[in-house]
């Protein structure tokens, strides 16, 4: 099963159209393998993006260089996935 160890989900709030375009440029860079959970649409609307550990530094540098503010929404995705999996297994045991 594919793991998501070290993947982070960032919350970004683009301030203007230019920052939205910057985020669209980021989205187009296939090699970063980033996954927009909520895509950039209009200024001031929240964007959520999952970033693999290997691309984190590049993406954060890009955002900072463009003056785009962000915060970490999920620090390590795998931790949440492990919790989810454990809960599913527990529920299955209880139902049986």
């Amino acid at each position: 099963r594919e793991t998501f160890v070290g993947h982070q989900v960032l919350e970004i709030i683009p301030r203007n159209e230019e920052q939205i375009q910057n985020l669209e440029q980021l989205e187009a860079q296939d090699h970063l393998e980033i996954d927009f959970w909520r895509s950039p649409t209009v200024p001031e609307q929240t964007v959520h993006v999952r970033i693999p550990f290997s691309s984190l530094q590049d993406v954060k540098i890009f955002l900072e260089s463009q003056g785009i503010a962000y915060s970490v929404m999920i620090k390590d995705l795998q931790v949440l996935l492990d919790e989810e999996n454990e809960e599913m297994l527990m529920n299955q045991r209880q139902e049986r």
């Binding site: 998501f4 895509s39 999920i74 989810e84 599913m88 529920n91």
Partner: protein
């Protein structure tokens, strides 16, 4: 009576077993139909709620994007709600005395299994793309509505790949064929997550539709009903203006096909969990969504066309 926990996430097999259980528990109201098979040959199982006769119908589907697990879970809770409320809740009783409901709880069964066993973030189908190393098509970019236009990717490796042609995905084609062969579907409602949105056409173009005023008022009433339970904040509007232009979407196809009451819900996440909505939020999500769905279904019942 089956001991099924509606407040937990389940495997595809468990969901199918519970669908059988519902059909067995309410034999005069609920039946299971297979409307096709997925690319990997899993059944496309639909629950039909009918009190008999040839009635106009409402179509509901969930989980076209496989990783949005709260939608499949919400659909199953909804199925149980419809079945158990018939004969008790006057609104549901009157609805089912006037119309049938078809509910497809797992629209993308291959993707759902893949998201549970291989890649939790999978959202596409699992079809093989000739000439590409990548798998799968975004089934909500594959409908024959502005196919291949803005807001869909022609890169098979993209999460929003539209596919080689409209209806290339057997999961989409199966629904299209079913809707066409039924011939009397009056509402088409699809459940997605997350972002808390209630949308109506169009997504492939940004023009105002002929029924804008009616659909906008209805969607706002539905969102208000939904919000009344737990205060979950919804935005309402056409896909193009409240998310972005996106072509090949299901409700654009259904509206253009003549199904006036075409809506897409984006259910919770209100708490920064994204697609990983904790299981303890399934039932609250389903409960509030039900109020929105009911508002739309009552309007459809009361406004025949």
């Amino acid at each position: 009576s089956s001991g099924f926990n509606f407040g937990a996430y389940h495997s595809l097999d468990e969901i199918f077993q519970e669908m059988d259980q519902l059909a067995a528990a309410y034999p005069t109201l609920v039946s299971k139909l297979q409307i096709g098979s997925s690319f990997e040959n899993r059944p496309m199982n639909v629950l039909k709620f009918s009190t008999g006769g040839n009635k106009p119908a409402i179509w509901l589907d969930a989980g076209i994007h496989s990783r949005e697990w709260v939608t499949q879970a919400t659909a199953l809770w909804t199925a149980n709600k419809i079945a158990s409320d018939y004969g008790k809740d006057p609104s549901i009783t009157s609805l089912l005395d006037t119309m049938d409901i078809f509910l497809l709880p797992v629209t993308n069964p291959d993707g759902y299994v893949f998201s549970q066993t291989k890649n939790r973030m999978w959202r596409k189908t699992r079809s093989k793309i000739p000439g590409s190393l990548c798998f799968g098509v975004d089934p909500n970019r594959n409908w024959d509505a502005g196919f291949g236009g803005p807001g869909a990717s022609n890169n098979p490796c993209s999460d929003s790949y539209h596919g080689p042609s409209a209806n290339s995905e057997v999961e989409v084609q199966s629904i299209v064929e079913f809707i066409k062969s039924h011939g009397n579907i009056k509402a088409f409602i699809t459940l997605h997550s997350y972002s808390q949105l209630l949308m109506y056409p169009y997504g492939y173009k940004c023009t105002k539709l002929d029924d804008f005023d009616e659909l906008n008022i209805l969607a706002n009433s539905a969102a208000q009903a939904l919000t009344s339970l737990y205060g979950t904040n919804y935005k309402v509007g056409p896909i193009c203006s409240i998310i972005y232009q996106a072509s090949g979407g299901s409700i654009d196809w259904s509206y253009d096909y003549g199904i006036k009451y075409s809506f897409a819900f984006e259910l919770r996440d209100t708490g920064l969990h994204g697609f990983l909505l904790p299981a303890n939020q399934i039932i609250p999500t389903a409960e509030e969504t039900w109020l929105g769905l009911k508002t739309i279904m009552e309007h459809v019942r009361d406004h025949p066309y």
